[in-house]
């Protein structure tokens, strides 16, 4: 039964990937891609990566879909022009040959992977007690490979600055996105009043259990960002102007707290981002708490996009 399930899953995923490439209209391709993201969540469940499945469900199922649908609707009618630039058959055949070659090489690598598989799981299990965190993924993210996570938070911040840097000069410092209409009795306003309270509780819950069970700040922050976006989409709240000092302070607070904890480690435990014995868990929790609002704001604002109006509402 499990074989039939997996083979069916693989068939659906490959079919949707092909559809996302060959569909005539961008919108049809984007809807295919959203379905594809949903099915990837099932792949992660089947590969026993529940933490990854949570991330994919929140990002692939929610934010990416909204982002791409907005873009596809905005760019409707540009497909004909692009079609005229389609490369000739020679390039297409060459591209097909290259793609097949890459696929075959990767498939060969998959088939000759070493047995027994190399793994760091026993190492993690042996040292997890020192971090006092129950979820191995969290202890990797915030203790053994904390540097990656710090750099990731900074990359996210840079990506947001990149999005903002596309602002036309006259709107610099203004509010991102377009002003959304507000209809007090509309269905969207109804959903935006009912869903966020539940979503905020769920987001904080998933953040909170992350220390000991699958979950964590990325997944929780994504859910919170999605709820914020829903409120903005319904016109119940407006995006803050990007010149606001509190906004900018919150955006750098997470990475700065992370760096501060790293420096404490450099002084007290002998290496940047090393935790003094006995203080690992409180420090990890402090980083997670500081990163949570930063990540929520960055993920939400990245989706709203470039400022397109002044800072008057």
């Amino acid at each position: 039964m499990i074989v039939a399930l997996n083979v069916g899953l693989v068939a659906l995923i490959l079919g949707l990937a092909v559809w996302a490439i060959v569909a005539r209209e961008p919108f049809a391709a984007v809807v295919g891609f959203i379905a594809y993201g949903l099915l990837l969540t099932l792949v992660w469940v089947q590969l026993h990566g529940i933490d990854v499945a949570l991330t994919e469900a929140a990002i692939g199922g929610g934010l990416t879909g909204a982002l791409l649908i907005g873009a596809a609707t905005r760019l409707r009618g540009t497909e004909a022009e692009a079609r005229a630039e389609r490369p000739g058959p020679a390039t297409r055949w060459l591209a097909a040959a290259v793609s097949v070659a890459v696929t075959l090489a990767l498939a060969a690598c998959v088939l000759v992977l070493p047995v027994p598989a190399p793994t760091l799981a026993p190492e993690v299990a042996a040292h997890m007690a020192a971090t006092e965190v129950g979820n191995p993924i969290t202890s990797v993210l915030l203790a053994f490979r904390a540097m990656d996570t710090l750099l990731e938070a900074i990359v996210l911040l840079f990506a947001l600055i990149g999005v903002w840097s596309l602002t036309p000069d006259r709107f610099w410092g203004g509010r991102p996105g377009l002003r959304q209409g507000y209809d007090a009795n509309g269905i969207l306003a109804y959903a935006a009043r009912l869903l966020p309270p539940i979503g905020i509780v769920a987001g904080i819950y998933i953040f909170w259990v992350g220390a000991d069970r699958p979950g964590g700040k990325f997944q929780g922050a994504t859910i919170l960002a999605a709820m914020w976006l829903l409120v903005m989409m319904a016109g119940l709240a407006d995006a803050p102007p990007i010149r606001r000092t509190w906004l900018r302070a919150l955006l750098v607070a997470g990475p700065l707290a992370f760096i501060a904890v790293g420096l404490v480690g450099a002084v007290r435990a002998g290496a940047f981002l090393a935790y003094p014995p006995g203080l690992a868990k409180p420090l990890i929790l402090a980083i997670e708490f500081a990163l949570m609002p930063t990540l929520t704001l960055i993920l939400g604002l990245m989706l709203v996009g470039t400022p397109q109006r002044g800072d008057t509402p």
Binding site: A20, D51, V52, I59, E85, S99, P118, A121
Partner: protein, 113 residues
Amino acid sequence: MNVPTLFGLCAAALVGIGLYGLIVDPHPLRKILAFNVVGSGVFVLFGAIARRGAAAGMGGDPVPQALLITGIVVAFSATALAVALLKRLSDEAGSVTLSSDAPARAKSDAGHD
């Protein structure tokens, strides 16, 4: 065939499919989609390898799984930046062509910004 091998082969195919679209399709939004297909192929390959490393009572090797979470979030931020660039290009040039010798329509009103 066991589960990690099946999904590993699926991942190899995804990388190939995405790569073909990335090269052949001239529309920038389609290139972003294709790039995400390549990316997810790499992620699934990573996940399959992590699953092979199941040991010590864990369902998979936690180190690649943690890197996957980082990767998915960074891939999203790259997509958001690419979409923002694309929207700006469309506002500015009135078209979304990436070709260098395309007619520069509506160039004149680009100077106001």
